[in-house]
Each structure stands twice: as structure tokens, then as C-alpha cells.
Symmetry: C2
Subunit: 404 residues, 2 copies
């Protein structure tokens, strides 16, 4: 496990200046579009984006300044000449408005889609005489296009993710339930260096590390806006594996997270015990065909909704519309941006207004649920390139693999 | 794994009427104290508390009504005569203000410590002519006292949690790193039925399933308000195990979550390879003594801060103050309420205004970090009883267990 070496020094390391400059440039452009001259960040995912590590506190950045300042509550050993320490909350006013290291804000963007109401009000009260804008869409727009370093980190996750999936046929043992298989996949993934944590923007979704679905359980509706279902083990987390025995002639769909680097890849593959019926096989091949078609279409300037429309048209043409993205309950998207969090921009849905850009990372997941059989299809993570088709970075075999 | 049987029917099952009535009574009293006549709930933990399952949508409850209504977005198969379906968001106005099944609100409490700023504004705009209050402290107060059923679910988690810990000495193999041991504990816990998910109120803390800390790594400050440290595997999640080899004469502190029922227990135990120095042994015994003293003190009517003061005084008297609740960075509490989430009321801290009540569930964790040696001490979950000392529900052996 050489990836764990020198961890103490790595944890204190922040983004290199040239990488920070690339990301700040994107944030700056997004802030100007939002009519703000500055931003105050406190969300972990956004702090990680702008520093390369998570800390508790705030980042303040004014577009008039070359650099942001880090207003740090914890840890108490974060070393940076950009860092100032925050003791009492009230000190934030002086640290932002009367700090020789930064320009005071005229219109400051706050993460209003993330900050809780009372915290947002508290920050507004601490910055009187300042205009406010919403930083959430701006940070979402900035993070939608990955830098070369971010793409590298996603590719590294993709390689390790595929390595874990390559071991699934060897992990399966006769008589296993869905959850027993899932636990062994989680273990294998953690030993490969998976950080475990599954970052989701907002509070609308909860999940542990992923889902393994087999048979009828695949068709159980869930509270969450995930493509696939499952009753789960307990009504406090009603999604995913429910203890069903893995039985012959049903698919086993594995969708377990790939967070090896702080940047996640998303990948789904199907397995089975013995033969499957023709409809399930056709649905699986159709999913592969859709992913390939969308990977080819995913080029800069293309409307995200066109990808959804293409997928839906292919499902309809094959007579598979009623199984597309679920059966008893349908998800209204076929793909989603991802990176630090699992639900970033662009969204591949019928009402999306996103336009694809080079550097977008997108998980494509045109899945089908065949009642009585289970779920079929794949999910792959792609990177949109400057020219040509997108690049798939989760390169495990796409065909159904049969357990022996 | 008999606990997984009949899962599909269990997932659709809601709280029995008498249990719901107990919880509603607590919510009603808390709302009256907050000056509100009604509440609108959307947080998963609060929805689980008031229904016994998680769904996406809202619960509306007016204290003039006998029952709440469930305004459900997903899943589409939730069956209850209290449930109404929410299509477009705008329908929420009519469903609350012109619904024959419920009384319209005059002053409605919203979860303003949880809801994001924009969502809170959207709800306020959807309910014109209504007064608003903060539901978060009210729900926190209601949930701080566990019903008999909730206590039963916590005890069940405690029993299974202890069973997992009893296997740790058999899981350890020579030459393991902290993360390798942690992964095997996670697996054992998941096979025992752990749901994995670690619910934390608010967005200030992130963790996967728990922490295993050994040696110097125990003293690395983290961004989070946890008692213990650790550099973690990656700067995106800088807490916990960092790949350190488990070496002789250092402690191995295991603090892995016990969410087996939707209700969590919290338990920490220490292990070691070969002998430990006297200071570490003394610190561990002191922690056990503090837990016992606080368990005896934890009775209805006692101020929570008195427990903190007692713990601090015992640490000072033993000359261990500089190691108490961390060394390079100190946590400012010695215990916390828990249940559906890991950070509920009451808080055992010097500035806490909480008064203990029968039915409180509290994790006591007076821990010490001895530089060069590691972390020492235990954490136990207790239930405050109507009479007599509190009851410990995480009954794994408290002494340090030596790996063979």
C-alpha cells in the first residue's frame, strides 16, 4: 500500500500555485457572471476544490485579489501564509472587511444552496452593508470542468475501481446473499484504497458505499433519486441489497463507489448465475450500445438533453421504454456529472440546460429493470475531450460476467 | 441473518399508532415552547423519527390535529391513509393550507438549522401570511428523550456492537496496518448487520464508518469536532487511520460505529501488541473510572455540564489534564447524546445548558492522547434511567485487550 506513505506531510500540503490559479480563474469567471465580486466558502467539497484538502472554516476570495485567504477553525496545525485563525465567530467580520491581505467585499456570494438558513443569516448579519449573491451555481459551474490534475485523479480512481470489479467473480461464493457479496466487495475496495466516503451534494440522498441488487429487489421503489431501487436492510435506509439470495437466472447489478483519490468514478456492471432470458440480455446489450452512442456524442457544445433524448429514443425503438431507468419507479435522468461529489454538473436529463464542455466528467447509466428478472445495463464514467468522442475511464469488461 | 426476513413488507410498515402518539406528544410540547402551532419536517432523521422509515418529502403536523400528514415525493408505493402525493413543488401550498385532513398553520416551525437557505426561502414563499419559527431545537429536544421502543432499538445495536468488538482480537493478524485492521472490523460489523451509514446532524463533520488509531497518528489534529485525531488516508478526508503499522507498545484505539437498527450506539475500546508504559495504562484506567463515575452521576435533573466538570476534575487530579480529550488539539466535550444521529442532545460540555432526563442516550468518551504512545480510554453508551445510575448498553470488556 505505497499510496499511504508520507501521509503526514501530504495531509498538510496544499494545491500547487499553478493549479490553484487554474481553479481560481474558473471561480472568478463564474462569480462575475453571478454579479458578485467575492465569495465565502465553507462547504467541505468546495474547500477541497480550492485548497486540495478539507479543513473546518472558510475560504474568502475577492476577484480583485491574486489569492484567497483561509479562515481556519480546525485543524490547529494548518500551515499556509494564506491562513488566518478563527477563534470566536464574530472575528469573521474583521478578518474579511478589515484585513490587509484581502479586498473587502461589495457583493459577496454565499453557498445558499448548501448553508443552512440560520448560518446564512448569521453570515449576512456579520457582513453588514454588503450585497449577497448565491455562490452555489457558480461553484457548480467552476467544478463542472475538471483541470488536468483533477482528470488525472479521476483516472486513477477509475483504474483502481476497475481492479476491484475484476475481482468480483472470484469473491462470489455459492449460496451468498446480495448483502454478503456486497460486504466482500466493500472490503476488497477498501483494501484497494477506497476512502469509503460517498459525497453527495445536498441532503436529499443518503447511501453507504453503493448497491448490489438482484432479482425482484431491483424493482422496489426507493425515496432517493437514484436510477435503481432495492428495499435495503432497514427502513432507516430503504435502498439497495435486502438479504436476497443470489439465485440462478437473475442478474446481480453491482454499483459500488470508486472514491480512491477524493475524486469519485461511478461504474456499474452486471453478473449472473447461469443463463439469463433473452429480454434481459437484449436490455443489457442495449445499455452498452447507448453508453457507446452517448460517449461518441459527448463533445463540447452539445446540449446535455440531446444525450438524454438519444438514450430515450434508442430505448423506445427497441421496445424497452417501460423498463428504461426503472420499472415501478423511473429516474428522470440517464447521466450525471461527478468528481468530488456524485451529483455535479452537467445533468443528462430531458430538462437540462447544460451544454457539454471539454473537461466534463459524466457518469452514463442507461439502466433497465425487467420485472421478475432484475436490473440490466452498465454505468461508465467518461471525460469529455476537446476533440473527438469522450474517453471512458472505468474500463472493466462491459458484458455480463457469469459466476462459476 | 434472520433479521433480513420479510424485508419488503417491513419497509412499507410505519410506526404503530401508540408509538407515534408518544413521539407526537414530545414534538407538540416542544412546538408550544417554541411558540409555534405546527411544523414542517423534511430532514431524513426527523422523518424517520416521526414515521419509522425514511421517505423523500415532508411531514406536516399541526398541534390542533390528532395526526400528521405525509407529503410524499418518493417512493411512489408508500401506503398510508396519512399520505398525500406531491407532484410539483407548488402543490405544497394547497396540501398544507387547504387540506381537509389538517389544520392550516398560523406559525409554522421549519428546520432552519438544517434546511438550506434557498429551500427555506422557497417554503416561506409557498406559505404566505404564515409566521415562522425554528423547528430544529424543538425536534432536537423531542428526540433527546428516547421512548421505550427507541431504547430497545439502541440496546439491540449495543448487543450487536459488542459482538463485533469481541471478534477484534481474532481479526488481528501480525503485520497489519491500522487501515487493514479497520477494513476487517468494518467487514465483520457489516456481516453482523451494520447498516454502515453514519448519520451526523449538520454538515460540519464527515466520516466513513469509524476510526482505528495507533501510535503517533492518534495525535494528528483533524478538521472535525471529534475527540480523536488521525491524518487519514487522503487530504479529502483527513481523519483516522493513515496506514501506520500496528507496532508493539502502542495502543490501538477502535471507535467504529454501531448502527444496526437505525439507532446508533457509540463504543471505543483499546487493544495493544505487547506491554504498554505506565502512563498509558494509568490513563486508560482513569478513563474507565471517569465513565463509571459519570454513569453513576447521570440521573434526571443533573446539569450536563456537571458531568464534564467531574471528568475534567478527575483528569486534573490525576495530573493528566494535558492529555485529556486530545493533546495537540483538544475536543471541548466529554460526551454527546446520540440515537438516529451521532450528535444529539444532551451535550456533555462545559458550556452545555442541557439538564439530564430519563430516556437520554449518551456516549461518554473521556479519552487521553499520550504523545509517542497513542490514545487511551474507552467510550460507552448509556441510558439515563428514572431512578438510580444510568445503564451501560455497550457491554464489551473495558480493559485493554492484548493481541496475541
Amino acid at each position: 500500500m505505497t499510496q499511504f506513505k508520507d501521509i503526514h506531510s501530504r495531509q498538510l500540503q496544499l494545491l500547487a500555485d499553478d493549479e490553484l490559479a487554474l481553479r481560481l480563474e474558473r471561480v472568478k469567471n463564474a462569480l462575475v457572471s453571478a454579479g458578485a465580486d467575492s465569495v465565502l466558502i465553507s462547504d467541505s467539497a468546495n474547500i477541497f476544490y480550492l485548497t486540495g484538502r478539507v479543513f473546518a472554516g472558510y475560504i474568502y476570495y475577492n476577484i480583485a485579489d491574486k489569492e484567497p485567504i483561509y479562515i481556519v477553525r480546525r485543524p490547529n496545525d494548518l500551515i499556509s501564509d494564506r491562513a488566518v485563525r478563527l477563534g470566536r465567530f464574530a472575528e469573521i467580520t474583521t478578518l474579511i472587511k478589515e484585513n490587509p491581505k484581502c479586498t473587502a467585499p461589495e457583493c459577496i456570494a454565499l453557498e445558499l444552496d448548501i448553508l443552512n438558513f440560520n448560518m446564512a443569516k448569521r453570515l449576512m448579519d456579520a457582513l453588514p452593508g454588503t450585497g449577497f449573491a448565491n455562490a452555489s451555481p457558480a461553484m457548480r459551474a467552476a467544478r463542472a470542468v475538471k483541470t488536468r490534475l483533477e482528470q488525472h485523479l479521476m483516472k486513477e480512481s477509475g483504474v483502481r475501481h476497475a481492479r476491484v470489479y475484476s475481482r468480483i467473480p472470484h469473491i462470489y461464493q455459492q449460496g451468498m446473499t446480495d448483502i454478503e457479496l456486497q460486504v466482500e466487495i466493500e472490503r476488497q475496495s477498501r483494501l484497494e484504497g477506497n476512502l469509503g466516503i460517498f459525497r453527495i451534494n445536498g441532503c436529499d440522498m443518503e447511501i453507504y458505499m453503493g448497491n448490489v441488487l438482484t432479482g425482484e429487489n431491483s424493482d422496489i421503489p426507493t425515496p432517493y433519486d437514484f436510477a435503481m431501487g432495492g428495499a435495503g436492510l432497514n427502513p432507516s435506509l430503504p435502498v439497495g441489497a435486502d438479504g436476497s439470495l443470489i439465485e440462478p437466472h437473475h442478474t446481480v447489478m453491482v454499483d459500488v463507489n470508486g472514491n480512491f483519490t477524493g475524486y469519485m468514478t461511478d461504474m456499474t456492471r452486471c453478473f449472473a448465475l447461469e443463463s439469463l432470458d433473452d429480454k434481459t440480455l437484449a436490455a443489457h446489450q442495449l445499455s452498452i450500445d447507448i453508453v457507446h452512442a452517448l460517449t461518441d456524442m459527448a463533445r463540447p457544445g452539445v446540449e446535455a438533453k440531446k444525450l438524454y433524448e438519444k438514450a430515450e429514443a434508442m430505448a423506445k425503438e427497441a421496445g424497452m421504454a417501460e423498463y428504461f431507468m426503472g420499472h415501478r419507479q423511473h429516474a428522470a435522468f440517464v447521466g450525471h456529472g461527478l468528481g468530488i461529489e456524485i451529483n455535479e454538473a452537467p445533468v443528462i436529463s430531458p430538462r437540462s440546460r447544460d451544454i457539454l464542455e471539454a473537461g466534463n466528467a459524466i457518469a452514463l447509466e442507461p439502466k433497465f429493470v425487467i420485472p421478475g428478472q432484475g436490473a440490466a445495463g452498465i454505468e461508465s464514467t467518461i471525460l469529455v475531450k476537446t476533440e473527438g468522442p469522450a474517453e471512458c475511464i472505468t474500463n472493466a469488461p462491459e458484458q455480463i460476467i457469469y459466476f462459476e
